[in-house]
Symmetry: C2
Subunit: 343 residues, 2 copies
């Protein structure tokens, strides 16, 4: 991108800020008065038509104001934008509100998504921590009734999963002991990716007659290990799509996209940079061609564990949203890492 004169930069920034605020194409007069009438509207018109020329602005039709193009937003985000953070008291409120869920990663990410949706008026997507290289730290059996028990699995990367198992045989102290012996010797300390079907099968073969009692439990553990590796998504503020008129044509396709699951999941997992802003067709899915996605990874310890971010129209207050998302990702990471340290 060629260098722009300072005035053109100022004009571009002004157009974007006005357009983001109003949603209306911005005319030369409006910019003129916004810039304190330091130059005439004719001058601005000249500059604007240059900006259209190089693709940073668009005009919906010949005789309307200008709106930013995707490239215009991109230039703004990369070069012009001056970000402004959340207020201190707002940061504190969020921190306190999230703290109560800091022990339960799934709930924490769900709530963080809800907060983000509220904060941004966009659809918020968050993924619970997952890690295919996580290690099993602990497995507990919690008897609930004579025939049901809860299995709780704690893994590295701040991951906690549980499931309820029903057994045909009565769950008593003996069975619990067998369970602990098996899990201690064969599961705890292992990488969750090693708990494959063949692993379970060879294990089962060596169990002798305890196999019948144990198999539902072993299956459950294998499911839990699978869950540790799997990205679990939380979607919040879906109704916010309807808040943005520029998305209303796509509303149905977007909703459908959000619920299809897999593409959204790969969207999150394919992020490479810690913070990723994809504007319009920069997104790899054509359903998002009129949308912007902003996602930030959060780390547990020093490992990326998941992401949180938003999907909204391209017309967004980038200067405000980007710091908010960064802040949330940071706080999630620190909460989840806390649990980790306390070994």
């Amino acid at each position: 991108m060629a260098e722009l004169t300072p005035r053109k930069q100022q004009i571009l920034a002004t157009i974007i800020e006005l357009y983001v605020a109003t949603g209306e194409p911005v005319g030369s007069k409006a910019i003129c008065s916004e810039m304190g009438n330091s130059v005439s509207s004719a001058t601005i018109r000249n500059d604007m038509s240059d900006l259209v020329e190089i693709g940073l602005l668009e005009q919906p039709h010949t005789s309307a104001g200008r709106i930013p193009s995707q490239a215009g937003y991109r230039y703004y985000v990369d070069n012009l934008m001056t970000t402004y953070e959340l207020g201190i008291e707002e940061q504190e409120r969020i921190k306190i509100w999230l703290q109560s869920f800091s022990g339960e990663p799934d709930k924490l990410l769900e709530k963080a998504g809800a907060i983000l949706a509220e904060l941004t008026d966009c659809v918020a997507v968050s993924s619970s921590p997952s890690d295919s290289e996580a290690f099993i730290k602990r497995i507990e059996l919690v008897p609930l009734s004579n025939h049901t028990a809860m299995i709780v699995l704690l893994a590295t990367s701040g991951i906690l999963k549980s499931a309820v198992v029903r057994s045909d045989t009565e769950i008593n102290v003996d069975i619990a002991e067998v369970f602990y012996n098996i899990t201690q010797s064969y599961f705890v300390g292992k990488n969750v990716s090693d708990i494959t079907l063949t692993f379970i099968q060879t294990l089962v073969a060596s169990l002798g007659d305890r196999v019948f009692i144990m198999s539902p439990f072993l299956c459950a553990i294998s499911d839990l290990c699978e869950a540790v590796k799997t990205t679990e998504l939380h979607l919040k503020g879906q109704s916010n799509i309807l808040n943005h008129p520029e998305l209303s044509d796509d509303a149905f396709r977007l909703m459908d996209f959000l619920h299809r699951g897999t593409p959204l999941e790969s969207l999150l997992t394919s992020q490479k940079a810690p913070l990723n802003v994809a504007i319009g067709t920069e997104n790899s899915y054509r359903e998002l061609k009129n949308s912007t996605t902003i996602f930030s990874k959060y780390a547990v310890g020093d490992k990326d564990a998941g992401s949180i971010g938003i999907i909204g129209p391209t017309r967004l207050d980038y200067a405000k949203l980007i710091p908010s998302i960064k802040y949330l990702a940071g706080i999630i990471g620190s909460f989840l890492s806390e649990t980790l340290d306390e070994e």
Copy 2:
């Protein structure tokens, strides 16, 4: 409602079925051919204008076909409709798919809602079992790390809740024992409604120096008891609102209503009959004046524990949806009651 001649009943039913299928106002000719030309279109026109007269039909404008009024749907549901059940193989699929969650009531209801949304193309709402008269059956402490532990609370009415607690002091065997002594003597067997703030306070007073260690746990238990009493809602298929053109004007208000929480909750809890069909303005919320709600309660043991149902347009295939919802409510009840029996 005055008695209708058999032919008028047939005309009303035909109009409703055609209108439900196509969404277009139904003309006399269409009815005529649908009824096998047994009478002429003029005759049908006469009958139709009688049906408009008594309020069972409406005409969008003078020269369009007729559509059912709310009262028309009501008459159809009460008198004319012949319901048709889900296919056996579909019932089996649902059963098997839900079975795997039968131990975890919250997940079970969530999945049931997802299935219902899929099945009906409507927004599905389900509530996890809750019961302010439930008794605490069991409380377990699961140590996760030196400073965190999970508390699992099992109550009657098939309710299972858990939370993670962080403690400043190290969680060791001694503390676990103290925990078990306290919960066994003061909590297990009690009605969840008796675990009030004052109860906790008097208990704390009698604890002596163990209070500092125990208070986070006791707070968590009190929160869990609160959760047992609280209706937890699961919303699924929200994007289906956009599938129904007649709701698109209300889409935003509806979405907003769904997310406001409290009114939706009271909608579910205020249901008196086991199955409740509210058409249009029969709903107590004006946001739903163009919608139909169909909700069925499910029972755990012989006690109503929660509800499941849908919110959709008034133009619904009542004959198919009502049995589906009944079936799901029945299966949920039987799964949750199963766990109960196994004491």
